[in-house]
Amino acid sequence: MFAILKKQQLSAEVYRIEVSAPLIARERKAGQFVIVQTDVEWGERIPLTIADANAETGSITLIFQTVGATTHRLAAIHEGGEIPAILGPLGNPTHIENFGHAVCVGGGIGVAPMHPIAQALKKAGNKVTIIMGARSKELIIMEDEMRAIADELIIVTDDGSYGRKALVTEPLKELCEQTPKPDIAVIIGPPIMMKFCAETTRPYQVRTLASLNTIMIDGTGMCGGCRVEVGNETKFVCVDGPEFDAHLVHWDSMMSRLRAYKSSEDQAHEAVHAEGGCQLGQAIASQKKRDQ
């Protein structure tokens, strides 16, 4: 059992939980993820990225958006409650070195897994530029944490409610046009964002890594449900990734595979909406934003 030490609702559908998981907190490195189950008998296993960890207190931080049955159930566990199963840390850690100038692009809750990577890049001596993007102000997460790491922080929103009114690709392109151009870009966010970021950096030949979050069951290489096409090869995100050369990822087939069970996810999501859970969440979230 893994106790939830702290729980915060960051926006209508985004939660941040700090969970007691001493072994994972000790072993995890930037770029790794966990598999979470809210019910070991009937629950599903879903991958969640590790947003932060503290080896001393033995806790890890998970940030997730309520999109399917399990994330809704996870959101329903109160502070002090327990998550029955967490497996991790999984996946290969990000290769960290002093590349020079690193650009980190985080979209939506992709900012969460970006946090430890940006942290590690900074620690290794890189100049770190962070681009954070979201649909609107209330969906911007971890701003303070990212600001503490970044040499330069660029915030963009689709609707202009906070930061620049732009997509993340715009400042990314501007950075690529500078001389010298960035030495590496790391991009994490919705697949469509990562696809366009990859297209943005490609003409400038800026080495670009994307961290993928696909459908998984075991997360240890056993099922192959997470497979993606990278270059001309089939790779397993769980054991070969989760990071790949963004210029080689076959984004369209990856996005297609994410829709394999779309109808059942939508049902789970709508069922919760029908109960009014999310509207309430939304109200609480906007209340909190107003209070700030």
Binding site: L23, I24, E27, Q37, D39, V40, E41, W42, G43, E44, R45, A69, T70, R73, P84, A85, I86, L87, G88, P89, L90, I217, D218, T220, G221, M222, C223, G224, G225, R227, V228, E229, T234, F236, V239, H250, S253, S256, R257, R259, A260, Y261, S264, E265, A268
Partner: protein
Amino acid sequence: MQDHENILQNVQKLTPRERMAIEVQEMPCQDPQVRATNMQEVALGYSETQARLEAARCLQCKTAPCIAGCPVSINIPAFIGKVAEADYAAAADIIKESNLLPAICGRVCPQEVQCQAPCTLGKSLKSVDKAVQIGRLERFVADWERKQAAEPAQAGGAAATDTGRSAAPAEAAEVAIAAPTGKRVAVVGSGPAGLTVAADVRRAGHEVVIFEAFQKPGGVMVYGIPEFRLPKAIVREEAEKLERMGVRFELNTLVGRTRPLHSLIEQEGFDAVFLGVGAGLPKFMNIPGEILIGVFSANEYLTRANLMKAWDSAKAATPLYPSKKVAVLGGGNVAMDAARMALRLGAEEVHVLYRRTRAEMPARAEEVEHAMEEGIKFQFLTNPVEIYSSGDGRVAGVVAQSYELGEPDSSGRRRPVAIPGSETKIAFDTVIVALGNESNPLLAKTTPELKVDKWSHILVDGEQRSSMDRVWAGGDIVLGAATVILAMGEGRRAAASINAALAGKA
């Protein structure tokens, strides 16, 4: 038809001729039409009379070639003799000397190529099908004992009258454990190899912790082999038995990630580590279209259905892909499991596509028969060269090529040879790839001093010792995809070596 009563009353006095004349006892099974719609066990097990009649068929031959055919060398004629005499407790004791998981092995071992293959009776009657049904008898004895444990008072009383021997209470029937040695053994993986090692090492008095990545113990016996072939309650009972013996399970722990292998030895103070992590990387064919939605590894398909219980869509959160017409690629046990599972999950039509013919199929004969009875269609000498979609990213069918059998290959089976120009399109909405597994490279990758071959199988010596000090390995991570019983055989060998090594250090 002989007088069964007469046979059973004079079982010790039967002549070989009389024994040979007793007909093979068929396994009672659920009706094929009924079972294809439920998850319950297909084979129902012998009745007591059937078991004794089948046991009476054993010639008790001096050579006992069956023992050599058993990967863990069970004293088969001895336990069968006890079954014939209706002394099931004694039969169970004899089996347990060599095999700690008889309820599992009796159900999933490929007996027709192991103990039953060289059976003298089968040879005399010129058919392996007419060999003594050793697996069914093993299952009978194991189930009898499970029933004793579950309802000791009632079944124990009955047994006492039946056998003239008072049945031992459930606790006493369990395994004796030597005095604590102060040594600690880590077992990585809770499949058949791991559970076997844990039991044998624990019996020698060592402290044992089993590390399992999944949320439940059992490995392939819970995620891979379906309920209808191996009820999960049996696997759970075996794990519980180990717990009662003092073995501790640490679930949701991936050694190599959650706990690095070094840390088990250097920081956690384990005196020995056994790696029985299985062969966990599904093979695909590397043909166009394998990335399409609706293409699954058998591991994924079966894990969703078994471990994650997606068959019960009302309760389970793990979704299932809605399949109407399913192609299963492969001819092994896993292919049979996937095909029969697809049928039970509501597929209207399930086809097994196999490059060779029925004679070359590696699956247990009984599983192939059961699959055929249930209405699975077999397309032999057929192999897909492409999986196609109708443009929506989902499977619409396969392009299949026809084969013919050529000269025997290194496995002794006739090599399938593709017939040029024979490609045809067959419509399917789901393709399940059941072509075996490669070894999971995780441990090798995170533990460079652990020597592996080019397939990432861990290299071991004759005692299952790896290249790393204090580390043993066995089962599929050493053998490549094999069987439950072979994994257990490796586990026994490893445990003996670990026990010897730890005794030497004392």
